[in-house]
């Protein structure tokens, strides 16, 4: 099996996610972009798993999904409380910790 096409797709998704993280201000969008990057990685893992014919990659993909789920829980909670206090979901507004 030739994984090249899958990898192209994974790279494309990762790049979209990374540019989203860098460009967008809205915390929710940022969050979704991070998920996109994670899923790009998952795609690559699964593709390699298939190529090598063992299950290691798929197991790691599951791990990633678990981590992503936990991240969503914590991350959304932070965003919600941020929105409550500052009435904005923009990450640029939350720059109080700079020197």
């Amino acid at each position: 099996m030739n994984p090249v096409n899958y990898l192209y797709l994974a790279a494309l998704l990762f790049t979209i996610g990374a540019s989203g993280v860098l460009i967008r201000k809205n915390a929710i969008v940022l969050f979704m972009c991070v998920e996109l990057m994670l899923n790009a990685c998952n795609l690559a893992f699964v593709a390699f798993s298939r190529m090598h014919g063992n299950l290691d990659g798929q197991i790691i993909a599951f791990f990633t999904m678990v981590v992503a789920a936990a991240e969503v829980v914590v991350g959304l909670a932070i965003i919600v409380s941020l929105f409550r206090t500052r009435h904005s979901a923009s990450v640029d507004d939350a720059s109080l910790m700079k020197l």
Binding site: V91, D92, A94, S95, K98, L99
Partner: protein, 631 residues
């Protein structure tokens, strides 16, 4: 007997300790205690002297070693004393005149609330001066040398509430320190050359050292002597030192401490004998100071400063004689002793005059005092006759000998030196006559001071006049006593050595020409100050007079070159330290701070920019890894 030597020093030292630490309890008895300790020292001195007379001339040196002072590998300094004829002469002079001046001070300082302290300092001075002349090595001598400097500092500045006194004291100490530098370098030279600085071994082995080394040592010793004895170029402190109480001027700045330089040179005779060039420098210094002091003495209206100029000049005679070598050593010491008598007497007389005149020192405001102060007049007058060399009095003998020895130096040098000493004798006669006439003769010229107090000149109390009478007695007879049968020469010869100089001029001719310059000097003074009334305000005077009043611009030179220059130097160094040395450090700190401030700007608080740097970093890492693989 030799165990008594330490007691000579211990007595006044104990006195100083008791008086200075005793506190106010001793205020009532302090002056008596101080005098007692001084007299005890004199008593021990006399006992040692009679013992010494009882022994043969070549068996008169006593020595006493107390303990090893600084034992360091190769460096042995002992606290050890040596009493020979030369030291003995000084011991008697110091403790004798010292005791008299203690007695005098009882009256003179009567109204001073810090009299106890004054006597403590005087005792300290006696101890240090005796240590100086009794030490058997240069390092211990150095202790005494600085000790007298300290005592002099404390006593010049005794009236510390006067700024001028405090400044004068500081100046005296500092100028002396320059001389002390010479002494310490001389000791270092002695140590590296001989490995020791004890008198005995050094003098025994001078023959092994090169002439260059000896000359260097001798010149450094001369520098020390110049500082202590107020010789050109380190003479500037003596005039200011007259800020001290008059008994101090008499004891320290006339009779004893200032003659320590002469002692040092005569004591180091062996070194100087091996360094003819240095001896020549010594005579030149002596000759220059002799004239310098005499000229300054002519112009001063302050009676003590006039006498200070005279002291400088007379010590110039002694230094000159000491520079002549074995033909002059004995006469230098002889003049030193007679000078000790008459100059101390003159100063005490001046003090007595000031005591009666509300501490007025300007001679132009004296006049006709002979009627009011008969005892002072007679004793001062005898001192005056002695110093100008009136035939038969002590100055006549001792000064004549020096003039003769100066001619005997031989060649052109001899003529020049002889001429200078003769000229000096003439000027001496002039300025001393001037002092005499201004103070005791003519019309009375004193006026009420600003507060309206008119001075009531009166004779001083017994405690002051008795020492003056004793000193006057010494001024009259000491010279003749020393000279008859060449007693003094025979006494000192075993220590200093003696050669009879062959003078190109006969002794009679020297005496005759001395008499001529004496008469001329006295005559000029009389025509200027005796025949016509003296103005109370000093006239402007000739250029030379004005220069002499300002100590021939020596102080102005010091002020401009040393004081101003030094101030500029220290001020600019303070600036350098602050801006340059510290500036480099603070600059480094500031640049580190600036750099970190700039780096801080990278932390802008935007999560995105941190993410960019993360991505960028990762990209660079991956690229680098791939590149490494490829290569």
């Amino acid at each position: 007997m030799e165990n008594l030597i330490a007691l000579l020093i211990a007595a006044p030292l104990l006195g100083a300790a008791v008086l200075l630490c005793g506190g106010r309890r001793l205020d009532k008895a302090g002056h008596w205690l101080g005098t007692l300790f001084a007299a005890a020292s004199f008593g021990i001195g006399v006992a040692l002297f009679t013992d010494m007379l009882g022994r043969a001339a070549d068996d008169r040196t006593l020595s006493q070693k107390l303990y090893t002072w600084i034992p360091v590998e190769g460096f042995q300094a002992d606290v050890a004393f040596q009493l020979d004829q030369l030291s003995m002469t000084f011991v008697l002079l110091i403790s004798g005149v010292g005791t008299l001046i203690h007695v005098y001070s009882i009256g003179y300082m009567e109204h001073d609330e810090r009299r106890r302290r004054f006597f403590g300092y005087l005792n300290l001075f006696l101890a240090a001066m005796l240590l100086l002349v009794l030490a058997d090595n240069y390092l211990l001598l150095y202790v005494g040398w600085e000790g007298v400097g300290l005592a002099s500092y404390l006593l010049i500045g005794f009236w510390q509430h006067k700024s001028s006194a405090a400044t004068a004291a500081k100046k005296a100490f500092l100028v002396n320190r320059v001389g002390d530098m010479g002494l310490s370098i001389a000791i270092m030279l002695l140590f590296t050359t001989f490995g020791t600085f004890a008198f005995g071994p050094v003098f025994a082995s001078v023959g092994n050292a090169t002439e260059g080394k000896l000359t260097a040592i001798a010149l450094m010793l001369l520098l020390a002597a110049c500082g202590k004895s107020a010789q050109v170029p380190l003479q500037s402190w003596l005039g200011d030192a007259m800020e001290g109480p008059t008994p101090v001027s008499a004891l320290i700045h006339a009779a004893t401490m200032v003659t320590a330089g002469v002692y040092l040179i005569v004591r180091s005779a062996a070194v100087f004998n091996g360094a003819p060039d240095a001896q020549l420098v010594v005579t030149v210094v002596g000759a220059v100071t002799l004239l310098f002091g005499a000229i300054v003495g002519c112009a001063k209206d302050d009676i003590k400063k006039a006498l200070a100029g005279s002291t400088m000049s007379q010590i110039g005679y002694m230094i000159l004689a000491a520079g002549l070598g074995p033909i002059g050593y004995v006469f230098a010491i002889m003049h030193l002793v007679t000078h000790g008598f008459f100059k101390a007497g003159l100063f005490l007389g001046a003090g007595s005059v000031m005591h009666g005149m509300n501490d007025e020192v300007d001679m132009r405001k004296y006049g006709a005092l002979r009627k009011f102060m008969p005892v002072t007049f007679v004793t001062f007058g005898l001192g005056y006759l002695a110093i100008i060399g009136f035939p038969g009095l002590s100055g006549f003998f001792s000064k004549d000998m020096i003039i003769e020895a100066a001619f005997a130096k031989g060649g052109t040098q001899g003529w020049i030196l002889g001429g200078v000493t003769l000229l000096g004798a003439g000027i001496t006669a002039f300025y001393m006559t001037r002092v005499m006439l201004l103070t005791f003769f003519g019309e009375k010229r004193w006026q009420p001071d600003a507060a309206g107090h008119e001075p009531h000149p009166h004779e001083s109390p017994k405690s002051m006049t008795v020492p003056m009478v004793i000193l006057a007695f010494g001024s009259v007879f000491a010279g003749a006593f020393f000279e008859i049968g060449e007693r003094f020469l025979k006494w000192l010869e075993p220590v200093t050595g003696y050669e009879h100089g062959n003078s190109p001029v006969s002794a009679m001719a020297v005496t005759a020409s001395t008499m001529v310059v004496l008469v001329v000097g006295v005559g000029i003074a009389w025509s200027m100050y005796g025949r016509r009334p003296v103005p109370v305000l000093a006239p402007r005077g000739s250029l030379l007079t004005r220069a002499a009043r300002r100590d021939l611009f020596q102080d102005d030179f010091n002020h401009v070159v040393l004081v101003r220059g030094g101030e500029h130097l220290t001020r600019s160094l303070v600036y350098v330290d602050h801006s340059l040395v510290d500036g480099v450090v603070n600059g480094t700190a500031a640049s580190v701070g600036g750099l970190s401030g700039r780096l801080r700007k990278l932390q802008n608080g935007y999560a995105r920019s941190y993410a960019v740097s993360m991505f960028g970093g990762t990209a660079i890492l991956i690229a680098a890894t791939l590149l490494m693989r490829a290569v």
